[in-house]
C-alpha cells in the first residue's frame, strides 16, 4: 500500500512539474525479481525510504536475456544499475565495457572469496537436483548417471541453471565431462527452455528430480509448510550461482547508483532475499537466516569457475553437451 501511495505521490509530483525534485534510479533486472511476489516491491519500498528518490525496476526476461537487452541498449541505456547477472555471464558483461567499478568494500558471506571490481554479489546459491523426500537420492553426478533415476534439466542455451549444470559437470570432471554427459543422457527425461517449465514438470510428477537449487526445498517448507522436497547432496561438490549487480558507466545518477549498491549489501536489502528470491543472502543480515533454512543441505565443497574460465569453457562444453545428448 505504501508503495502504491509513493508511486502515486511521485506521479502527482511529476504532473506538477516538480520532476527534478525527485531523481529516478533505473534498475534493470530479470523478470522474477520485479514480480509482485519477488523481492522487487519490498526492495523498492525499503530503498525509497532512505534515498529520497524514485526507484524503478525494469524486468527484461531471465538472466541471459538481461545481458542481451543491455547490449541492445548499449551506451544509450537509461539503466543506472543492472542487477541479476551471474558469474557465467560476467565475463561477457565486462567485455561490453559498459560497467563502472562499484567501489563497495563489504565483508560478504560467500563460501568463496570475492574480489571483482565491477560486479557485486547480492545473493547466491548452490545448484542441486531436487527430488522427493523418502525416495532414493543419488549421492553424486556419477551415481546419478549410473542410476535409472529420471531427471529434468534446462537447456544451457536458453537458461542460466542449464548453463550452471554445464559448468558444474565441467568444473567437477574437466576433460571427462563428455563421458559424464553421455552417461547422464538416459536419465534425462527432457530438456526445458527455462527453469519454470522444468520445475513445473517435476511438480507434476514427470521425473524423480529436477535441476534447481539447494534452497528450493526452503520455499516449500516456509511458504507451503511442505517438507516433501529435498535437495540431493553430491560428493563432487555443488556448482554455485552467484548473482551480481553492476553500475553502468553511462549512468546519470552515479551517487544514487553507489547508494543503491551499498544498500544492496546491507540488512535492509539482504533480509528480503531469502524468502522472496529463495537464495542465500550475499551478506548475512543481523537476524540471520529465516527458520527453515537450517534444514537445507550444505554441500561439502563449493565449485565455481572464475568468470573468465567459465567464458572460455562455455562453447566447448556446450558442444560436448550437444553431441552427448544428440546420440
Amino acid at each position: 500500500m505504501k508503495t502504491t501511495l509513493s508511486i502515486s505521490v511521485a506521479a502527482a509530483l511529476c504532473a506538477t512539474s516538480a520532476m527534478a525534485e525527485t531523481p529516478t534510479l533505473n534498475v534493470m533486472t530479470y523478470d522474477s525479481f520485479v514480480s509482485d511476489w519477488g523481492p522487487g516491491p519490498a526492495v523498492e519500498a525499503a530503498f525509497e525510504e532512505i534515498c529520497n528518490c524514485d526507484l524503478v525496476f525494469t524486468g527484461a526476461g531471465d538472466g541471459a536475456a538481461l545481458l542481451a537487452r543491455l547490449q541492445l541498449e548499449g551506451k544509450g541505456s537509461d539503466a543506472d544499475v543492472v542487477l541479476g547477472l551471474d558469474t557465467n555471464l560476467t565475463a561477457a558483461a565486462r567485455a561490453t565495457g559498459l560497467f563502472a567499478p562499484h567501489g563497495v568494500s563489504a565483508e560478504l558471506d560467500l563460501p568463496i572469496s570475492w574480489d571483482d571490481a565491477e560486479f557485486l554479489p547480492f545473493d547466491w546459491g548452490y545448484f542441486a537436483f531436487v527430488g522427493n523426500a523418502g525416495e532414493d537420492a543419488a549421492t553424486s553426478l556419477k551415481a546419478l548417471a549410473e542410476s535409472d533415476a529420471k531427471i529434468l534439466i534446462q537447456d544451457p542455451r536458453s537458461s542460466t541453471p542449464g548453463l550452471g549444470l554445464l559448468m558444474w559437470v565441467k568444473a567437477a570432471y574437466g576433460d571427462e565431462a563428455a563421458d559424464v554427459w553421455a552417461a547422464l543422457a538416459d536419465n534425462i527425461v527432457t530438456v526445458t527452455p527455462g527453469w519454470s517449465e522444468a520445475y513445473g514438470l517435476f511438480l507434476e510428477g514427470e521425473a524423480d528430480a529436477v535441476l534447481s537449487y539447494t534452497t528450493s526445498p526452503a520455499y516449500h517448507l516456509i511458504a507451503e509448510e511442505d517438507d516433501s522436497k529435498v535437495a540431493w547432496a553430491f560428493d563432487e561438490g555443488h556448482y554455485m550461482q552467484v548473482e551480481v549487480a553492476g553500475k553502468l558507466a553511462g549512468t546519470d545518477q552515479p551517487e544514487l547508483a553507489d547508494q543503491f549498491l551499498a544498500f544492496m549489501v546491507s540488512d535492509g536489502f539482504q533480509s528480503i532475499i531469502p524468502t522472496t528470491n529463495w537464495m542465500y543472502p550475499a551478506k548475512l543480515p543481523a537476524e540471520g537466516l529465516p527458520a527453515g533454512f537450517e534444514t537445507l543441505v550444505t554441500p561439502n565443497k563449493a565449485l565455481l569457475l572464475s568468470s573468465d574460465a567459465a567464458a572460455a569453457a562455455r562453447d566447448g562444453a556446450l558442444e560436448e553437451w550437444r553431441a552427448a545428448l544428440s546420440q
Partner: protein, 502 residues
C-alpha cells in the same frame, strides 16, 4: 481510395514488422560466426517435425470435419467452440495439460500401470508431433469443415440424382482445394515452434530454428547469426507457401443458394461418432486437466493477476479490432500480394520481431512507455493470416455477388462497407475477431521485451508466478487465461452470428 490506402498501410505494417524488424536486427549485427553444423541440424529437425505435424493434423482432421459437416446433434456448436480451445492456449498451459494425460504420471500411464502394461513416453520426436497435432488439429478441423460447408446444396442434390459418389465427385475435389492450404498454415505454425519442441523433444536433438535464434540473440548476442537464421526460416515459410499454392487447384466450387444442406449419403453413423469421439477425447481431456489443476489455484492467485487479466483483455480487444480492420482492408484489395502478406507473419520469428522492434523503438522512446501499444500492434499482425483467411473469401463473395449492384447504385467507400460488406461478412468477421482476441490473450511474445513495472499481461504474470515457485497459483492463472480466451472468442463469434440471416 478508401479501399486502397488502408490496404497499403496494412501491407506496410506487415512488411515492417516482419522484414523491417529482420533488417533492423541485421543492421545492428556485428560480424558473427556464421552457421554451425548444429544450426543446420536444427533446420533439418524443424522441417521434419513441421511436415509430420502438418500431415498428421490434416489427416486426423478430415474424418472429424466430415462428421461435423454431415451430422447435426445437440451440443454440436459448443463442441466446435471447445474443440478450438487448444489452438488458443498458451504453450506452457497446454503442455502441462498434455502431460497430465500423456506424461509419466498422467492418466494414460497410470491406467497402463494399473493393468501391468509397459509405460509410454511422450518425450522425443513423436512427443513434439503429438503436441503440435494437439495445438493444430482444431485449426485443421475448422478449415476443412469450412470447405465442406462451402459445397452448395445443389451439388449434393445433383450427385444424388446421378446416383454418383459424393466422395469422388464432391469431397475429393473439395479436399484437394482445402487441404494444401490447411497443411501450409500448420506447417508454418510448427516451423516457428520453440517451447513445445524443446520441452517435449527431450534434448538438443529437438532443437528448432527458433531456439537457435533465441540462443544467438540471448546467449551469444550474435545478431548476424540470428538474422541469418530468421532469413532461413522465412525462406522455408515462403517456399512452403509456394508449393502449397502450386498444388492447390484454383477453380472455385461455385456458389449455391443458402439452403440447409440435405444429403443423401449419410453413411454409417457409428463411423462419424467414433471419429468425433476420438478427436474430442484427445483434445478435451488435456483441457479438462487444465481446469482440474487450475481450480484450486484460483484462490491462491495474488490480486496482481486480476490486474494483469484486465490488461490482457484490453490488449486482446485492441488487437482484435486492429486485426479485423487490417484484414478487411487487405481482403478488399485481394490479389497475390495479400496471399504473401497472409503468410509472412507466420514465418516470422517472434524473437527477431521483438528484438527488431526494440532496436527501432529504443532510440526514440522508452520501450516501457509503448509496451502495450506495441503488443497490440504485433498481436494484431500475428493473427492477420488467420483473419485474412476467414474474411478474404467472404469479401470476395460479396464483391462477386453484389459488387456491380452496389456500383450501379452509386454506393461508394464507407457506405458500401457499412451497408453491403460488413453485414454480409459478419460471421467470418466475428470469428476472426474472436480468434485474434484469443490468440492475443495467450501470446507471450514482445511483451517480455517491452513490459515494465505494472505492465504485465496475464500470460506474463503466469510465467512470473511459475518463476517464483507458485505453480499452483500459476495453474489458476492458466485456467483464468483459458476461460477468458474462450469467453472472448465466444462473444465475438456469437456477435457475428446474432440475427445474421441470409
Amino acid at each position: 481510395m478508401i479501399q486502397k490506402l488502408p490496404a497499403w498501410l496494412a501491407m506496410a505494417l506487415v512488411l515492417g514488422l516482419t522484414l523491417g524488424t529482420l533488417a533492423a536486427v541485421g543492421w545492428r549485427a556485428e560480424l558473427g560466426r556464421g552457421l554451425s553444423a548444429a544450426d543446420w541440424a536444427a533446420v533439418r529437425f524443424t522441417i521434419t517435425q513441421a511436415i509430420m505435424s502438418a500431415m498428421l493434423s490434416v489427416v486426423l482432421a478430415i474424418p472429424a470435419a466430415r462428421a461435423l459437416a454431415r451430422r447435426s446433434f445437440r451440443g454440436r456448436r459448443i463442441l466446435i467452440t471447445l474443440l478450438g480451445a487448444p489452438f488458443l492456449l498458451p504453450v506452457i498451459v497446454a503442455v502441462l495439460g498434455l502431460l497430465a494425460v500423456f506424461g509419466r504420471g498422467g492418466v494414460i500411464n497410470s491406467a497402463l500401470a494399473a493393468v501391468g502394461l509397459p509405460q509410454i513416453s511422450i518425450y522425443g520426436f513423436w512427443g513434439v508431433v503429438l503436441a503440435h497435432v494437439f495445438f493444430n488439429l482444431p485449426l485443421a478441423v475448422r478449415l476443412i469443415l469450412q470447405g465442406w460447408q462451402a459445397i452448395p446444396a445443389e451439388r449434393f442434390r445433383l450427385v444424388a440424382s446421378l446416383n454418383g459418389s459424393v466422395f469422388r465427385l464432391l469431397e475429393v475435389p473439395m479436399l484437394a482445394r482445402v487441404v494444401p492450404g490447411a497443411a501450409l498454415v500448420i506447417f508454418l505454425i510448427c516451423l516457428t515452434s520453440f517451447a513445445v519442441a524443446l520441452t517435449l523433444g527431450g534434448g538438443p536433438r529437438a532443437t528448432t530454428v527458433e531456439l537457435a535464434i533465441y540462443q544467438a540473440i540471448q546467449f551469444d548476442f550474435d545478431l548476424g547469426r540470428a538474422a541469418l537464421l530468421a532469413c532461413i526460416q522465412f525462406g522455408l515459410g515462403l517456399s512452403a507457401a509456394f508449393v502449397a499454392w502450386q498444388v492447390t487447384p484454383t477453380q472455385g466450387m461455385g456458389r449455391g443458394m443458402d439452403r440447409i444442406v440435405q444429403r443423401w449419403d449419410q453413411g454409417r453413423a457409428a463411423v462419424d461418432a467414433a471419429a468425433l469421439s476420438l478427436v474430442a477425447l484427445f483434445l478435451l481431456l488435456p483441457l479438462a486437466m487444465v481446469v482440474l489443476r487450475g481450480v484450486p489455484g484460483l484462490i491462491e492467485m495474488p490480486s496482481a493477476v486480476w490486474a494483469a487479466a484486465g490488461r490482457s483483455i484490453m490488449v486482446a480487444t485492441g488487437s482484435a479490432g486492429l486485426c479485423v480492420v487490417l484484414a478487411v482492408a487487405l481482403s478488399l484489395r485481394g490479389g497475390v500480394a495479400v496471399s504473401v502478406i497472409g503468410v509472412m507473419p507466420l514465418a516470422a520469428s517472434g524473437l527477431v520481431m521483438g528484438t527488431g522492434l526494440f532496436v527501432l523503438v529504443y532510440p526514440f522512446v522508452s520501450p516501457r512507455s509503448v509496451a502495450l501499444p506495441v503488443t497490440i500492434l504485433v498481436n494484431a499482425t500475428l493473427a492477420l493470416p488467420f483473419a485474412v483467411r476467414a474474411i478474404g473469401p467472404a469479401v470476395a463473395d460479396v464483391k462477386a455477388d453484389y459488387g456491380k449492384l452496389a456500383e450501379s447504385l452509386g454506393m461508394q467507400g464507407w457506405n458500401r462497407l457499412r451497408i453491403v460488406v460488413f453485414p454480409r461478412i459478419r460471421r467470418p468477421l466475428g470469428f476472426a475477431a474472436g480468434l485474434a482476441a484469443a490468440l492475443s490473450m495467450g501470446d507471450l511474445g514482445v511483451i517480455t521485451l517491452f513490459a515494465g513495472e505494472a505492465q504485465e499481461t496475464l500470460p506474463l504474470a503466469m510465467y512470473r508466478l511459475m518463476g517464483s515457485y507458485r505453480m499452483e497459483a500459476a495453474a489458476g492463472a492458466g485456467l483464468l487465461l483459458l476461460a477468458l480466451s474462450l469467453l472472448l472468442f465466444w462473444l465475438c463469434d456469437q456477435g457475428g452470428r446474432r440475427d445474421a440471416d441470409a
